[in-house]
């Protein structure tokens, strides 16, 4: 396996259904003169999983025979949920986590204020109902909100658009 293939298969510590490549945090893998340089980017500034990701990458690459591994963290460009792959969105849905909607290019200028939670396009990952409400903007991890479905009554997690 190439270093890129190994690094791409490492799983996210908080959303283990996704690989780091699915999540879009794996930015670059280069191999030169036997040295592997991996670049990752944090989802949120304070994401505590970042150090786990680095340790997991080093461990996986070493056990695949790459002795000299360096993991770097790049802040810019800032991660967006738009970088989660199509396969990643599907895998989230399959384990009952509502994936983020695509945001597309952002408008420049002042960020608009939302006095009420914006109209939701979040569909219940269990029953497919569009009648869902936000219970809490902040869930078990920084990247997820908690919602509930009005039809099947189940609570579920939603990866927030960022």
């Amino acid at each position: 396996m190439t270093a890129l293939e190994v690094a791409s298969s490492v799983r996210d510590p908080e959303l283990p259904v996704l690989t780091l490549a699915d999540l879009g945090v794996l930015r670059d893998v280069t191999e030169r003169d036997g040295k592997v340089l991996v670049t990752i980017t944090p989802t949120y500034s304070g994401c505590p999983a970042l150090e786990e990701m680095g340790a997991d990458l080093r461990r996986s690459l070493r056990s695949a025979g790459f002795a000299d591994v360096e993991v770097r963290t790049a802040l810019s460009p800032a991660w967006s949920t738009d970088w989660i792959s199509e396969a990643g969105l599907r895998k989230l849905r399959e384990v009952g986590i509502a994936p983020p909607s695509r945001i597309g290019p952002r408008a420049v200028g002042p960020v608009p204020l939302n006095l009420v939670p914006p109209a939701s396009r979040v569909v219940c990952p269990r029953c497919g109902s569009a009648r869902t409400t936000e219970i809490s903007r902040f869930g078990a991890t920084a990247c997820k909100a908690l919602r509930r479905c009005a039809d099947c009554a189940e609570p579920f997690e939603h990866v927030k658009e960022l």
Binding site: E51, G54, T73, S76, W79, N114, S136
Partner: protein, 296 residues
């Protein structure tokens, strides 16, 4: 990665200690870290401390709510907001230490400076609860003002001539937008709620209002960093517009401006703090000072 028991996964780290020395020094490695040639390194150091300390100190205040918020979801929300701010603080203090060039890292700056060396605005440090003198409504009033101001600041900082500040701001803007929305929705819910919640929301806004003027007062360091630092006076109309919109929806009115409290013209940006700050710093630093280099 799989482990034979759950505890192994907690200790099997190569260089990650969860308390201190988290190997985060490479956080800035993806961006150009040279100090722009037109910039005085000591001024840039001071500016990074200002923005870093604002976030570090408010993160400490928000974390005090953990297990004390009105509901479990709010515990989690305030802790998540604190975590975002702590992440911003780590990047900014790392940059400050690097620019200073005397070998101080984020931990040395967070845990080994005395109260008078902190450069945060007073708004971040005052007691807004959960302890005496505070209230949940006061906390959301502070969070609304702080995050509206910091979001406006970071929006402009994305264009900073310092590539590190620009990158930190680009990331922070998205987080601060969530913080501001969260605070704004609480202010509307409480202000436009019951008679009691309205009364406490009015009191909360009045409590934080004397600390608003300092946010828009340009400091000499900021004045010496044109193109790098944001002049906070330029944020006023945007922030006022946001606060007015929230207050209108909440049935509140903005109090009359209160002149900022200063000692010989100096305030938080000069290391002159309110009486609450010493206690906050003591709690923040106690473990590291008592057990230097402690890990777990």
């Amino acid at each position: 990665m799989s482990f034979d028991n759950a505890y192994e996964s907690l200790i099997d780290h190569e260089d990650a200690h969860w308390a201190f020395g988290t190997g985060f020094t490479e956080a800035l490695s993806g961006v150009d870290r040279a100090v722009p040639s037109t910039v005085d390194a000591q001024d840039l150091f001071a500016y990074c401390l200002m923005l870093g300390d604002d976030a570090l100190v408010l993160a400490q205040r928000l974390a005090e709510w953990c297990s004390r918020a009105p509901e479990l979801e709010e515990d989690v929300a305030l802790a998540n907001i604190a975590l975002d701010l702590l992440g911003q603080a780590r990047l900014l203090l790392t940059r400050a230490g690097e620019v200073e060039g005397t070998g101080r890292d984020e931990d040395a700056l967070a845990f080994l400076r005395d109260e008078r060396e902190f450069r945060n605005v007073h708004l971040a440090e005052i007691e807004c609860g959960p302890f005496a003198g505070g209230d949940f409504a006061t906390t959301v009033a502070r969070l609304l003002v702080f995050s509206s101001w910091r979001l406006a600041l970071f929006s402009r900082l994305r264009g900073s001539a310092d590539p590190v500040l620009a990158a930190v701001a680009e990331k922070g803007v998205k987080e601060l937008a969530y913080h501001r929305d969260h605070a704004a929705q609480w202010v509307v819910r409480l202000g436009d709620g019951t008679e009691e919640s309205h009364r406490r929301m009015v009191a909360g806004v009045a409590r934080v209002w004397p600390y608003v003027e300092e946010l828009f007062t340009r400091h000499a360091v900021e004045a010496r960093l044109p193109g790098v630092a944001v002049d906070p006076a330029t944020l006023r109309s945007e922030v006022d517009g946001v606060l007015d919109a929230v207050f209108a929806a909440a049935g509140l009115t903005a109090p009359e401006p209160v002149p900022a409290a200063r000692v010989n013209g100096r305030a938080g940006r000069d290391g002159v703090h309110t009486e609450a700050m010493g206690y906050l710093v003591a709690e923040l630093q106690h473990l590291h000072r008592s057990l230097p280099g402690a890990t777990w």
